[in-house]
């Protein structure tokens, strides 16, 4: 299999008056064709920062310090804005956190999708573009007649579907869905996510789902990366993560959210405050909240290692492991 996206040691910091915010600190992962990945972590841990780095839509005070993001053989980090514009939407498209506000209120919804098509495929005529939008509408379960309506005439769920249709408009290789359903009620959330998964499988696209809710992600993603304080602390396929969560943070995340399928577990929230990414410490960033923290954890940062086949963790004391790879700390 070929990697669609490959991120290597990405460091993206925000400069603020109070100091540096290390929103993405040494992030690495790759995503293969047709693969779907979940990026999970509490709010403020840097998920959006990672996705915006991939799209190169960072605010002015953000800087990519180092690292590479390979997409289609090119390093996105080094592209000019014009070159990047060709990759945006045609190569990588996005479904935003706030789908409600992702549509410009003064233009018809259909026209906003057509705009994306004609920008990237100038040879497509207006009628062809409309045809495509109509079929996309059917695909996401919208009535094609609603194309000529304005955003304020759509309900929240419809806007979400329209935004999904828009993300598919140029047949991108990769779609990043940043909390695509947070603003919707639970039932609509579930249907939309499932449909999204179906479409993704059908069109064989790669997908990154971003959410703070690990249970939601586990339903649709084949691989999960857990982020904490700007770092990926654990990554494996969803089954492994669910069966043998190794990082204490992952364990905490899973117990704080009742699983949709399984028996209702007791709701255990992770104690303590989510971390402040400002001037990050040089010990394990989870240590202040970790029930398993030892002196070692307060002295240095754990390295990110493969503790079993295709299961990476950054922790001195991984949990739930049948075969303990690391005998002891050292």
């Amino acid at each position: 299999m070929k990697a669609v996206l490959e991120i290597k040691n990405l460091k993206m910091y925000y400069d603020t008056q109070a100091g540096q915010v290390k929103a993405a600190d040494d992030i690495s992962f790759s995503l293969y064709e047709g693969e779907s990945m979940g990026l999970v972590g509490e709010s403020g841990c840097g998920k959006t920062s990672v996705s915006m780095s991939i799209m190169r839509l960072l605010p002015e005070n953000a800087r990519i310090i180092s690292g590479n993001i390979f997409f289609g053989g090119k390093d996105i980090v080094k592209l000019s804005n014009e070159e990047m514009n060709k990759i945006r939407w045609a190569g990588i498209s996005m479904i935003f956190q706030a789908a409600m506000n992702s549509l410009n209120p003064v233009y018809r919804v259909g026209d906003q999708i057509i705009e994306a098509i004609t920008t990237h495929e100038p040879d497509v005529t207006f009628e062809e573009a409309r045809q495509r939008v109509a079929s996309l509408y059917k695909l996401v379960g919208l009535d094609p007649e609603r194309m000529d309506n304005y955003p304020h005439e759509y309900s929240g769920g419809m806007k979400q579907r329209a935004v999904i249709a828009m993300s598919l408009a140029c047949n991108p290789k990769l779609i990043i869905a940043d909390e695509p359903t947070t603003a919707l009620d639970v039932i609509v959330q579930d249907t939309i996510l499932r449909e999204l998964e179906k479409i993704q499988k059908k069109l064989n696209m790669s997908m990154i789902y971003i959410s703070h809710d690990i249970a939601v992600i586990a339903e649709v993603a084949s691989k999960i990366a857990i982020m904490y304080a700007g770092k990926i602390v654990e990554m494996s396929d969803s089954v492994t993560i669910f069966k043998r969560p190794a990082h204490p943070y992952t364990v905490g995340l899973m117990s704080s959210f009742p699983s949709i399928r399984g028996a209702k577990k007791e709701l255990v929230t992770i104690p303590g405050e989510p971390p402040n990414l400002l001037n990050a410490p040089d010990h394990c960033r989870f240590a202040p909240r970790c029930p398993f923290a030892t002196d070692e954890c307060w002295k240095k940062e754990p390295s990110y290692e493969e503790i079993e086949d295709n299961h990476f963790v950054a922790c001195f004391h991984p949990q739930n492991l049948k075969k303990q790879v690391r005998a002891n700390a050292g």
Partner: protein, 385 residues
């Protein structure tokens, strides 16, 4: 839906109009020392003339009857006889001068809107540069400067220092003395030409919107038809024997238009800047960027187009301010429109004319309000449906 909205607005404006006329009536007539007292004490009028006016306008009737009469008179354009131009009816004077104000105001306003829009847009887009700082300061100065002060400087700079623009009046008497042409007629033809050009622009815009989906074709249709019409009308005026007189009027208009523009552009600019800064933080702008649209498209089609709405709203709120600026401008440039009429008639104690001018200034503002409301409805789909 759109028609219903417009109908609603027209109805509201009509009600506002009645209230406005009522307020003016009660303030002018019902106050001690109102019109009647002033009329009787006016030394210019013979007792017979006074008697005639009092009878004609029923000034001896009870107040409420007078009010009913007054309303009827206003809406049948029967505004009385001017004292200072006795026996010319007030309406004749206003009918002659209103178009001048409308033209001055419309042209200046359009320019001010586009200048304010464009500069506010680029200020927000190029945030933090020296140009932003400088233009904001210049904007605030022109916004807060005492209008007569601004006009003195304009007169000195353009009229005396550069010596390029004529200063007094609405036309050059030396030129007009050799002709029996009526300036008013020429003026109305100018107005008509502008109206035609405006209509052509509007129609070609709508046609382009309807029959083409390519931005380039749309632009071509729009600009081509506009340019053709403008060239054609300029040519028409050129070959016509009265073209030179029209040019004279327009030439006299430049400075007043410039002044009213300067008075009102800064407000638009500052609002546009703030609104644009808010808009570019919106999520749909991030979406537009993510779609890979060129920067210019994101700025103009998405950010500026949406950020424009508060500017239009603000414009309604600043109408009064601009009209006040217009009065001062007209008076100081001797541009014989409503503002100058208002001031001159007040100073000459010609109250029927002053009251008529005041009422029509108000009516003009209300109509401007209505026009902007309708434009706003076209601009914001959330209102339209």
């Amino acid at each position: 839906m759109m028609l219903k909205y417009i109908g609603n607005r027209i109805l509201q404006i009509a009600i506002l109009l009645v209230i406005y006329v009522a307020i003016v009536f009660f303030l002018l007539h019902a106050m001690p020392g109102g019109i009647k007292t002033l009329l009787i004490s006016n030394p210019k009028l013979t007792p017979q003339a006074q008697e005639a006016i009092i009878r004609a306008f029923g000034l001896n009737q009870p107040l409420w009857l007078q009010f009913v009469d007054y309303m009827k008179n206003v809406f049948t354009l029967n505004l009385g006889i001017s004292f200072s131009y006795y026996p010319t009816p007030v309406w004749n004077i206003i009918a002659e001068r209103l178009p001048r104000t409308v033209l001055l105001f419309t042209v200046a306003t359009l320019i001010a809107f586009f200048v304010g829009f464009a500069s506010g847009k680029s200020l927000a887009w190029n945030r933090g540069k020296t140009t932003e700082y400088v233009s904001t300061i210049v904007g605030i100065i022109t916004y807060t400067i005492f209008t007569p002060l601004l006009i003195f400087v304009m007169i000195w700079f353009f009229g005396s220092f550069l010596g390029i623009f004529p200063l007094n009046q609405f036309l050059n008497p030396d030129l007009w003395i050799h002709t029996r042409l009526n300036a008013q007629v020429i003026f109305l033809y100018i107005l008509l030409t502008m109206l035609i050009i405006g209509m052509v622009m509007l129609v070609s815009y709508l046609v382009a919107l309807r029959f083409s989906h390519r931005v380039r074709t749309r632009r071509l249709i729009f600009y081509l038809s506009t340019i053709i019409t403008v060239v054609f009308s300029v040519f028409f005026w050129w070959v016509s024997p009265v073209g030179i007189y029209a040019a004279d009027i327009l030439w006299h208009m430049v400075l007043p238009v410039m002044t009213v523009t300067i008075i009102s552009y800064a407000g638009n600019m500052l609002v546009m800047r703030d609104s644009m800064l808010e808009t570019i933080k919106e999520d749909f702008i991030t979406t537009a960027r993510a779609k890979g649209l060129p920067d210019k498209v994101v700025r103009d089609k998405h950010a500026a187009r949406t950020a424009m709405l508060p500017v239009v709203t603000n414009f309604v709120l600043s109408l009064g301010f601009v009209v006040s600026g217009g009065v001062i401008t007209e008076s100081l440039f001797s541009w014989p429109g409503m503002g100058m009429t208002l001031l001159d008639s007040t100073l000459a104690k010609d109250y029927p004319l002053a009251a008529g001018a005041l009422i029509f200034t108000g009516i003009f503002v209300l109509f401007a309000h209505l026009a902007i409301d309708i434009i706003y409805a076209f601009l914001d789909p959330r209102i339209r449906y």
